[in-house]
């Protein structure tokens, strides 16, 4: 793909080693590196210095919008656009509208959060570069892109080897 980046990657076979390696890579001053694993590794966010995800803000705002949309829809259709007397109830009968408002809150919040995940993870992406096919199974990798501060292939390769990497290779990601 056009938008992959050249760089260097180390591959590990143990969770504890890659956690340590991620911490050391960060301490070495790299900021744009990626740690790749087949499952969420406990403690990896701290090791890589990743901030808390911003997705909950999207969820909250979308939920509020959904709630408002539900209120607006039920009020406008039942009391404004075509007011019909149903069983002598008030035209704007809020308690009866709460289920609709609740469901739309959930629907908006859930779908917007998923859309936000897609945006945050740049998905969907056609044919993403694969450093090693075992990274979605039982291996772990750290990838440092060429444009990161202090990028020096031989230095990184040495550091990765010392940290227990089983393989270090120049690649694209």
């Amino acid at each position: 793909m056009a938008n992959s980046t050249k760089g260097i990657a180390g591959i590990w076979e143990q969770e504890s080693l890659v956690l340590k390696a991620a911490r050391k890579t960060r301490e070495a001053g790299f900021t744009k590196f990626e740690a790749i694993s087949a499952y969420p590794v406990h403690g990896m966010e701290e090791a890589c210095g990743i901030k808390r995800s911003w997705l909950p803000y999207v969820t909250f705002i979308a939920g509020v919008v959904g709630l408002g949309a539900g209120l607006l829809l039920t009020w406008w259709t039942s009391a404004v656009d075509w007011p019909i007397n149903v069983g002598g109830k008030p035209l704007f009968s809020l308690p009866a509208f709460i289920p609709i408002m609740f469901e739309l809150t959930i629907l908006f919040a859930a779908l917007s959060s998923v859309a936000a995940l897609f945006y945050a993870c740049k998905m969907p992406r056609i044919d993403p570069p694969v450093i090693d096919p075992d990274l979605t199974s039982h291996k772990f990798a750290i990838f440092v892109p060429f444009n990161d501060t202090g990028y020096d292939e031989s230095r990184i390769e040495k550091m990765f080897k010392e940290l227990g990497a089983t393989e270090v290779k120049k690649t694209e990601f």
Binding site: V41, T59, S78, W82, L107, A110, F118, D134
Partner: protein, 453 residues
């Protein structure tokens, strides 16, 4: 200190987990699977034929008649939508409660939810009698005024609840599948599989940043699904409770329906899981007897809750002093449909009591049989609620019976064909245990591995 028992047996490595769970997707189907699939598919074709007749000739082929205008379709709708609830309970509610045992059953339970809701969703649409006009159920600008839908009707709340539930549970399920699709893609030896699963994985890369967002989204969706699943069966119960019919018009319905839904759903999970364990031997290490035992405990607990609701309904009917209310309940137990009431009580309250014995909770044949009885009992619960309340209400001159026809049987039995066909296809095409979720709990119960979980 109480020692935790391992969640995954067999001291598996990460690679073993991937190999085990991907195996059913990658190998040629077994004879047993093909046999079951052919059976289920034939039943599905029969179902399509029955539904085509019901749509083509008319809803009158079913036994609905004055005064029982709600019959098999509504009963079976509530039955299937209730089945779905256990999947969301396992995947969302137990996730929020940090129940790690849920990981290996969550995927299949969620699949069950999605397919059960799909099966259920057809019934109200067909029950309208003119399903080609079903888009009238949704509020959209139209040239009839515009005449809007009636937002004060519980039936419309149901449209919103069920369609939201179907959408959100499908999305939740799919989000869980994305990393596992990427695993299958990376393992794929042939191009077609690589392309198909590559497309399904949406280009997932598994970086720490992605996982951070992903875990947050999973938590959010679990948090949203939890009130959603409670709301759905609450609103389904409003379909009945908001009407002023004796036997329906009770405030106990929302919690009673939710408990019943969880009860029946867990029974279906146990039915399916015992079969999955027989058909796919490698899953026995992931869905262990401990898992089955925990689910049996939930079945027993919710069974007791449901039993309490039956008793409470009877007491309140007597205590209310309302003669119509009293009559409906006496008629339920001792009237012409008494047999269905006692079937329900036997299957739902008496039979699950066997799970007080640990050896019974851990016996696969026993739990399979009990779960089938619970499924039967819960179908009859909805039959009892719907039909016995309608068939004799205020005026003896308008009493009648539900004229069950073989189309009713066809609709009920055929719906299992649809559900099982989807479920069997799922078992072969999708990883039936969440690979990415099981790996972090591998160390639970193994002291020597120094697991920090």
């Amino acid at each position: 200190m109480i020692k935790r028992s391992p969640l995954v047996l067999g001291n598996k490595s990460l690679k073993d987990v991937t190999d085990d769970i991907c195996a059913p997707v990658e190998r040629f189907p077994s004879k047993g699977w093909v046999g079951l699939f052919l059976g289920a598919k034939t039943l599905l074709l029969f179902y399509i034929a029955v539904l085509a007749s019901v749509v083509g000739i008319g809803i009158g082929l079913l036994g609905m008649n004055s005064p029982v205008f709600w019959g098999t379709m509504i009963v079976t709708f509530v039955f299937w939508i209730g089945i779905g609830h256990a999947g969301t309970l396992i995947s969302a509610v137990l996730f929020l409660f940090r129940q790690k045992w849920r990981t290996s059953v969550a995927r299949t339970a969620e699949a069950m939810t999605v397919f059960a809701v799909m099966t259920a969703g057809l019934f109200p649409l067909l029950h309208t009698g003119r399903p080609w006009l079903d888009y009238w159920l949704f509020p959209y600008p139209n040239q009839r005024g515009p005449l809007w839908v009636n937002f004060r009707s519980p039936l419309l709340w149901d449209v919103f609840a069920v369609s939201t539930y179907a959408t959100v549970s499908m999305v939740f399920w799919y989000i869980g599948l994305i990393p596992d699709f990427a695993t299958i893609k990376d393992r794929a030896k042939n191009t077609l599989r690589r392309k198909v699963y590559g497309a399904l994985s949406l280009g997932w890369r598994g970086t720490a940043r992605n996982w951070s967002h992903y875990e947050m989204l999973y938590l959010i969706l679990a948090g949203l699904s939890t009130p959603l699943v409670l709301s759905v069966h609450t609103i389904v119960s409003f379909d009945f409770a908001v009407a002023s019919l004796p036997g329906w018009h009770t405030t106990i319905f929302p919690p009673y329906f939710v408990a019943g839904a969880i009860f029946s759903g867990f029974a279906m999970v146990v039915t399916l899981m015992t079969l999955v364990r027989i058909g796919f031997k490698e899953f026995k290490n992931y869905v262990t007897l401990d898992h089955m035992e925990v689910m049996n405990k939930i079945i027993m607990t919710t069974g007791l809750l449901v039993g309490y609701a039956y008793a409470s309904e009877f007491f309140i009917a007597w205590y209310s002093g309302n003669q119509y209310e009293r009559f409906v309940f006496v008629n339920r137990a001792f009237g012409p449909y008494g047999w269905s009431y006692w079937t329900m009580v036997t299957c739902n309250v008496l039979i699950p009591q066997i799970f007080w014995l640990k050896s019974m909770r851990r016996s696969i044949p026993v739990m399979f049989v009990v779960s089938i009885f619970v499924n039967i009992g819960m179908w009859f619960e909805r039959f009892v609620i719907t039909v016995t309340s309608l068939h004799r209400d205020f005026l003896p001159s308008s009493w009648g019976m539900y004229e069950w026809t073989w189309f009713d049987s066809g609709v009920l039995i055929g719906s299992f064909g649809m559900f099982l066909t989807l479920f069997l296809l799922y078992l072969r095409l999708f990883p039936a245990v969440s690979i990415a979720e099981v790996k972090p709990v591998l160390n639970v119960g193994y002291d020597d591995k120094g697991g920090h979980h």
